[in-house]
Symmetry: C2
Subunit: 229 residues, 2 copies
DNA sequence: CCAAAAGTGTTGGTCTTACACCCATGC
DNA sequence: GCATGGGTGTAAGACCAACACTTTTGG
């Protein structure tokens, strides 16, 4: 059996591809799941919207670069962060060869203060399930992120990062319904979510306009970066 | 709220990190799940075993680079291939900054002819669940790959790439038991695997030393690269 | 006729879904 | 007292795990 040896590599003549992270930052706002988009300023995609991202620093891990990107755009530290997938087709950015590691981040809306930064023309929140056509291959990234958050919702505590530390089961259910984009049976939801054993019931009630509701909290508020490894 | 701007990037003074792929290549041999390791020749990990890998070519996608690596080491084309995770800690390779995209590949044992290539000191198959300590962060990569293949086994047709085109249910069950490393109930296995609807029963029998068994085939032999996107 | 693998069904338990009524409060 | 959301239980069906005997062949 004959086999070829490796073709030309970046290591010699060409220089290396650039390595970037792109982050899909979700939050809950206006009763919807929203994600943060920035408007590209230069290059072939100028004017198009995209997920915020940037090159990975020389001394940074990928996770740190993603964390930094979240911080620079939203001011939020310690957001939930999870690696999604790495995109590396040579033609995905016509200007330069960029390999991009995509991340999913979740931030609490009340902690956010947006920072457009000079490198973007604009910045803003868009409904996650009705995004415009995006620059690069970011349409794919968006679909992947949405699938990931919806499936993780089923068996993890990731929503802790979208909620205040205390909440009622009704509020929690609203969050699930918003993200999954369908309504759930209240009795079954409560049974299932309590069976997961991620919540603790607090000895307090929230008094509102109607019958007071028990407050709950997540037992663990961590798992900033999901260790898939 | 105050926020810092980006630290030093690779884009300026430093040059970029190198981008590599590392591939966990599994096969079935000697009744076990085995994976291919190569012995590192140079650098701080010289003498250690690692998963085969290499830099991504200037005109290559990441998938293509992984495919090429599989081909160069084993001579197998069109193997099953799936991206796992991307590792990018600055210190993961003490010699240079390398961002590595890890892949999982499955090859049929009978199609393999190993090619050590000059860049490695040695090459060989090792039992997947008893690997030696590996170079770089490849211990992590190996654990991740093993978890991934085991879980994918449950709901996909990925084993088609480890089997000949026709096989008996007994042979199929053996493959599952080998990979999962536990024994399964024959009756339940048959019910479940047939219920998945991935197999078709052929109008043939395999005659062996005992009662002839029906032959089966996968309805679809593709999904070379799993589109998670 | 014996050894070895192929082939097949049923039962009990668990999990999931669908569904309806009473309760506590504010206004 | 009524509107609003909070709180709870049960029954039917789907799914899963455990389990034993008969069949077909080669030697």
């Amino acid at each position: 059996m004959s086999r070829v040896e490796s073709p030309r590599r970046f290591s010699d003549s060409q220089g290396h591809p650039w390595v970037a992270v792109d982050v899909v930052i979700y939050t809950l706002g206006r009763g919807r799941l929203e994600c943060l988009l920035v408007q590209v300023k230069e290059g072939p995609f100028a004017g198009k919207w995209a997920f915020p991202g940037g090159l990975v620093g020389a001394e940074e891990s990928l996770d740190q670069a993603a964390e930094r990107e979240v911080y620079e755009r939203t001011g939020v530290k310690n957001s939930y962060l999870e690696q999604l997938y790495t995109f590396g087709k040579p033609e995905r950015d016509p200007a330069t060869r960029v390999v991009s590691v995509s991340y999913l981040a979740l931030v609490a809306h009340r902690e956010v203060s947006l920072n457009p930064a000079s490198k973007y023309a604009d910045i803003g929140w868009f409904p996650a399930n009705r995004l415009p056509r995006l620059a690069y291959d970011h349409d794919q990234v968006g679909r992947l992120a949405l699938r990931r958050i919806r499936s993780k919702l089923q068996y993890t505590n990731i929503v802790y990062s979208l909620l205040p530390s205390e909440f009622t089961l009704g509020e929690l259910q609203e969050v699930y319904e918003t993200i999954l984009h369908r309504s759930l049976d209240r009795r079954n939801f409560r049974k299932k979510i309590l069976a997961l054993g991620l919540l603790k019931r607090l000895p307090k009630k929230r008094r509102g306009t109607h019958r007071p509701a028990s407050l709950y909290a997540f037992m663990k508020r961590r798992q900033m970066i999901i260790e898939m490894v």
